[in-house]
């Protein structure tokens, strides 16, 4: 905490990774408002994911992975709520339990010498080969970031790769009543 011009007192809690899920009206500029708040106030965005989740109500869900002390993250939540088109902000780390996943697409440089190893590793991680017109080896892996990290680390040891990752999305896994 203590985003003041004056020296801050002792830090109160440790810096941790937090996943925030933000429901917003899907209107022009809403993403700029959200990320502008982060950059303008000096907060961190580790990854960001946006997609419309309800067509009829025109609502998008923004998933932001950030890190900071709980004081900083609580301030982030409150600052997000000040943004007019923001419906709600949920800190999934404080929700109790949640499920998270991300997708990575990996272009793998394959040769005769490494082919076997690559396919073995992909099998092990259940990375799926995506067929494409050029018949190149593009694999898709989905799952928790940790798992994707491990896969990337291991495949990197075998051959050269190019990677694109979606960043995690997450949802609370707590049982809810239907009428809510």
């Amino acid at each position: 905490m203590n985003k003041s011009v004056y020296a801050s007192p002792d830090q109160v809690s440790e810096t941790k990774r937090h996943i925030l899920t933000v429901l917003v009206d899907n209107e022009p500029g809403v993403l700029a408002r959200v990320i502008g708040m982060f950059s303008g106030r000096g907060y961190n965005i580790d990854s960001l994911n946006v997609a419309e989740v309800s067509n009829d109500e025109n609502i998008s869900r923004i998933t932001i992975v950030t890190h900071g002390t709980s004081e900083v993250v609580s301030q982030i939540e409150k600052q997000l709520l000040r943004i007019v088109p923001v419906h709600s902000v949920t800190n999934l780390d404080q929700e109790g339990s949640s499920v998270e996943a991300e997708v990575a697409l990996i272009y793998i440089y394959i040769s005769d010498t490494n082919k076997k190893k690559v396919y073995q590793l992909c099998d092990l991680y259940r990375a799926r080969k995506i067929e494409n017109e050029n018949n190149t080896t593009v694999f898709e892996i989905a799952g928790a970031s940790e798992r994707v990290n491990r896969f990337i680390k291991e495949i990197n040891e075998i051959t050269k790769v190019e990677i694109v990752r979606s960043g995690p999305v997450a949802i609370s896994s707590i049982q809810k009543n239907e009428e809510e």
Binding site: K3, V5, Y6, P9, G29, E71, Q75, K78, L81
Partner: protein, 588 residues
């Protein structure tokens, strides 16, 4: 369809339905259709400024002195970029503003067209919300939502960018009461929401031995009733109260409980009381860095209650024990109820000891200054201005710097909404246009801009506006030929190297006034001062009073950057200890 009207007509109709009486603006290519419609009607008055920056400060002055929303109308490109400072100022000081900007027609957006800029992009961080309206049929609902958002919760500026083709297009108008704004877009505290917290807070106050109320601009934004309730509650408790720069007037200066302003140039007794209190009741203030001084030494032994309408202010810089989210008048009304209901009473004996201590601090007489000689001391000039205007309905605006602090220290405010100053952003050039806005809102009142010689030049072009609309605004310049506050910091922190803070070639302010067909007056010595002030008040015209004050006067008392409330500097002979001075130097 028959009931279709043009976008420009929808704009004017929305403003009329919102009860707007006056718009501050400046025309240009991208707002010509709106100006054309304005020409054809009589219900809304337009005040033509001389630079868009003046329009938005005038709207701020109008809004803060009347409690209504200020409206600004400017063109695209430079018109829009010139209001950015004012929007930021209104954002920091929570002033309700609706700013209408023209935009190039939609088919030109993104083509780097003449006078095109990304207005919504530029103003996103300095507005509460902004819109680019692409569909003429949405124009009226956008306007009604914009006014609601500007006033709702913590007030602030809202900007509506309207492409020129939308102003020409035909569409239907929807009335205010037909617009439903989804609740998540507004702040709607339920009255009972914080009931437990309120009870906890009131009980804490009742057990206090050394309480202090710390009052901010939120009390003024909550309306005149809030100030009444706050005064009533403080009287019931019998507690001392101090106000921020933005909160001056909530409790009258002559009120027996008032310790005056706190903070960097606040009263010694107020800061000492903040440092030593055991229960602090923050109502509508935000622990700004000008108020807190060094955070790790801020009021170390107190339990803190914080009432704020903006949840993000809670625990932002100072951790509090009892946060209450809500509107001041609702919360304080409830507090009074609880206090009465539970028949709370504060420990009289302890309170008396507390007041005894405070009265000892008062004996320091922190505002004391050496008033010898014929040269006018700036403090004395403000004191005389107060004495000669106190029986008139007077609005005081200021620019930013030493004169602003002297005005806050030496002018006594008895009522809210009478004191208009740029607190959060600290915008030089604010005071004169703000005075114009206040005068437009209160044609019969006395409006005085206490200014510095440097600040006044930042929006001096508005002389032309003031004279055109016969606005008898008084500009009271404390002229020391320096950017006084910059010079003071250079003296205290930079070895007296007055880098670029002396203003050479100042205009002759008397002749300057005359060139605008206004009245120019000058006082060079104490003998002339009262006459000049009296003449200034009696002149039914715009006046510049050029008051020559001692050049190297410093504004004291002062908490230097990096110091704590109990480390106030009372004069320049009293040096800050070296270590905290070094630490403070890098701060603002």
């Amino acid at each position: 369809m028959n009931n279709e009207i043009t976008g420009a007509e929808i704009v004017l109709k929305s403003l009329a339905e919102q009860g707007v009486e006056v718009v501050f603006g400046y025309p240009g290519g991208a707002v010509l259709p709106i100006y054309d419609t304005l020409f054809k009607q009589n219900s809304i008055k337009h005040v033509l400024v001389r630079q868009e920056g003046g329009a938005i400060h005038a709207a701020e002055g109008y809004a803060r002195s009347t409690g209504k929303t200020g409206v600004v109308l400017v063109t695209s490109g430079p018109g829009a970029t010139n209001v950015v400072t004012g929007l930021t100022d209104a954002m920091m000081d929570s002033v309700p503003i609706v700013c209408i900007t023209g935009q190039v027609p939609q088919h030109l957006i993104g083509s780097d067209a003449f006078q095109e800029c990304d207005t919504t992009g530029i103003t996103r961080p300095c507005t509460k919300h902004n819109y680019l309206v692409k569909d003429v049929n949405k124009l009226s609902s956008v306007f009604h939502e914009a006014f609601t958002i500007a006033q709702n919760g913590r007030p602030g500026p809202v900007l509506i960018d309207i492409p020129k083709d939308v102003q020409f297009a035909s569409g239907t108008y929807e009335e205010k009461n037909k617009i439903i704004i989804p609740s998540h877009r507004l702040f709607e505290p339920s009255p009972d929401f914080e009931k437990n917290k309120i009870e906890e807070a009131v009980e804490l106050i009742s057990k206090a031995k050394k309480p202090i109320f710390y009052i901010g601009g939120g009390c003024i934004n909550s309306g005149p009733k809030a100030s009444k309730l706050v005064r009533q509650f403080i009287n019931m408790v019998g507690s001392p109260v101090t106000m921020t720069l933005m909160g001056l007037g909530v409790v009258g200066s002559s009120d027996k409980n008032s310790l005056g302003m706190l903070g960097m140039h606040g009263m010694y007794e107020a800061n000492m009381a903040m440092h030593e209190c055991d229960v602090m009741i923050n109502i509508g203030a935000r622990f700004d860095d000008r108020v807190t001084g060094r955070l790790d030494a801020f009021s170390p032994n107190s339990k803190k209650i914080h009432i704020d309408i903006d949840e993000s202010n809670i625990n932002k810089t100072i951790n509090v024990d009892v946060p209450i989210i809500g509107d001041v008048k609702q919360v304080v009304e409830k507090m009074i109820e609880v206090w009465k209901e539970k028949k709370f009473k504060i420990d009289d004996h302890a309170l008396k000891l507390w007041w005894d201590k405070i009265n000892k601090w008062k004996e320091v007489d922190c505002l004391n200054y050496n008033n010898e000689g014929k040269q006018i001391k700036p403090q004395y000039a403000v004191q005389r201005l107060y004495e000669l205007t106190k029986n008139t309905k007077t609005f005081i605006t200021t620019e930013v710097g030493q004169h602003q602090m002297w005005a806050a220290q030496f002018y006594k405010f008895e009522e809210p909404n009478r004191w208009l100053t740029s607190g959060g952003l600290g915008t030089m050039g604010y005071g004169f246009p703000a005075a114009i806005g206040a005068q437009v809102g209160h044609p019969d009142a006395l409006v005085v801009d206490i200014a510095g010689d440097a600040s006044i030049l930042m929006n001096i072009q508005e002389m032309s506006t003031a004279v055109q609309y016969r606005l008898p605004v008084k500009i009271f310049i404390l002229n020391n030929e320096y950017m006084g506050m910059v010079r003071q910091w250079q003296e205290l922190l930079h070895g007296g190297r007055y880098s670029e803070s002396y203003t050479d070639s100042l205009p002759d302010f008397v002749k300057l006034a005359e060139s605008y067909k206004a009245v120019g007056l000058r006082a060079k010595t104490t003998d002339e001062l009262d006459d000049v002030i009296t003449q200034m008040i009696e002149t039914k015209n715009t006046v510049i009073a050029d008051i020559w004050v001692t050049k190297e006067e410093n504004c004291f008392p002062m908490i230097q950057s990096g110091s704590a409330h109990n480390e106030m500097m009372l004069s320049k002979d009293q040096k800050q200890d070296k270590k905290s001075a070094e630490k403070g130097k890098i701060l603002v």
